[in-house]
Symmetry: C2
Subunit: 237 residues, 2 copies
């Protein structure tokens, strides 16, 4: 072993102890595995029906080992919810940065949101809801959700202004679009017949374009701009 302090943590030396940085990485990796496993069990069995013992068993570790990474079951839920909301915010920020037409941004936001509610952490937010969370986190969750809702409303209002969306109440429209997508987190099953991408693409097309059948063209073309509706853009969804 080299005596140079600088080289003591060099990769070439096989040490039974991990170097500082690697140790932190390993710990974070294991912590993530605890959270992911817990989230999946919460979604499968329900939050109340899942115990720390169940989580430990699934990870082949003891319950005391679990306590090295998380404080409690509530703490796990809190972290799962925070992770999902951070993912949602990142998704929105990315879409915003790319810019473009409001309709395209709205579609991209909806795709990002749909993907997250079908993810383990996102499903936790939707399925478990606010109820078991402590009041401060409930408040934080509401604040973060309000931010996401605000972004949907802004994009819908801009879509109406740019003429790509039909004049509507952006608040109600945002609730309807995000609501339908949120509910996906309730019914989605990884072993179902459709992939998350298929659900998102087809679901968003239905939400944007509606389900009413096209009407045959009336003889006068004057009434058309009000009756005709744009078919969902297959390339964009």
């Amino acid at each position: 072993m080299s005596t140079t302090p600088r080289r003591r943590t060099a990769k070439a030396i096989a040490s039974p102890w991990l170097a500082g940085g690697a140790r932190v990485d390993q710990r974070e990796k294991k912590r993530q595995a605890v959270l992911q496993t817990a989230a999946r069990l919460f979604n499968e069995r329900g939050f109340h029906a899942t115990s720390l013992d169940d989580i430990a068993e699934k990870l082949h570790v003891s319950k005391p080992t679990l306590y090295y990474y998380v404080k409690s079951k509530d703490d796990i839920l809190l972290e799962c919810v925070r992770t999902a909301l951070a993912m949602m915010q990142e998704g929105i920020a990315e879409v915003r940065q790319r810019g473009g037409r409001a309709l395209d941004q709205l579609q991209a936001c909806m795709r990002s949101y749909a993907a997250i509610v079908m993810d383990d952490f996102g499903q936790c937010v939707i399925r478990i809801g606010e109820d078991p969370l402590p009041p401060p986190l409930k408040k934080e969750l509401r604040r973060l959700k309000a931010g996401i809702d605000h972004e949907f409303r802004r994009l819908i209002a801009e879509g109406v202004a740019e003429g790509s969306l039909t004049p509507c109440d952006p608040k109600l429209a945002a609730f309807m679009l995000a609501g339908a997508l949120s509910w996906v987190g309730r019914w989605y099953r990884p072993d179902g017949s459709m992939s998350p991408t298929q659900i998102a693409d087809q679901g968003i097309a239905l939400l944007l374009g509606g389900v009413l059948a096209p009407v045959p063209a009336p003889s006068s073309s004057i009434a058309l701009p009000k009756l005709g509706r744009r078919a969902p853009r297959k390339t964009a969804t």
Copy 2:
């Protein structure tokens, strides 16, 4: 007082004890008040944060009095959920009995469903979810929900067949429509700016008609049947 047994319970005789039938009615009335008060508190504060003491206090009765009407907090939730699901099933049965076009039936079902998820009991089903329910009731709840979902799918498939709805996957469309409406039960506040009827009417119009803006008529009328979409029927929604 008359000695004729037949007249002992006649209305004219003022008795401090209520007659058999009236006693049952009174008990049921009080039981309903317990359930309604509890449902409202669950929705306002959360199921876990609401105690039997809170419910008793709100009703100006003692906790032992409460136990005369309900067995436990879980029992209350169970009854709230059962009441809401029974309302949903009745709503669907009524629509079915009236008959008519599948699109009109679908709109009527959506209106009935929306009204119930904004009601105290309906909100319980949506906000609290399955998680705190005991396994047998979870199973019953899923069975009843599946029945409602089945009705939505059937009407959508029939709407496509009758030409009023655009060809789509009835399963996914049912999940999207019912999902958006279910989510209303999460965000609806009785003190909000819109009435339940306004939310239902405008929300259903957005879901059926979509949010995309009408497109100007192309010069050739051949492409119109595929591009044009029927605007939401204002008379029916």
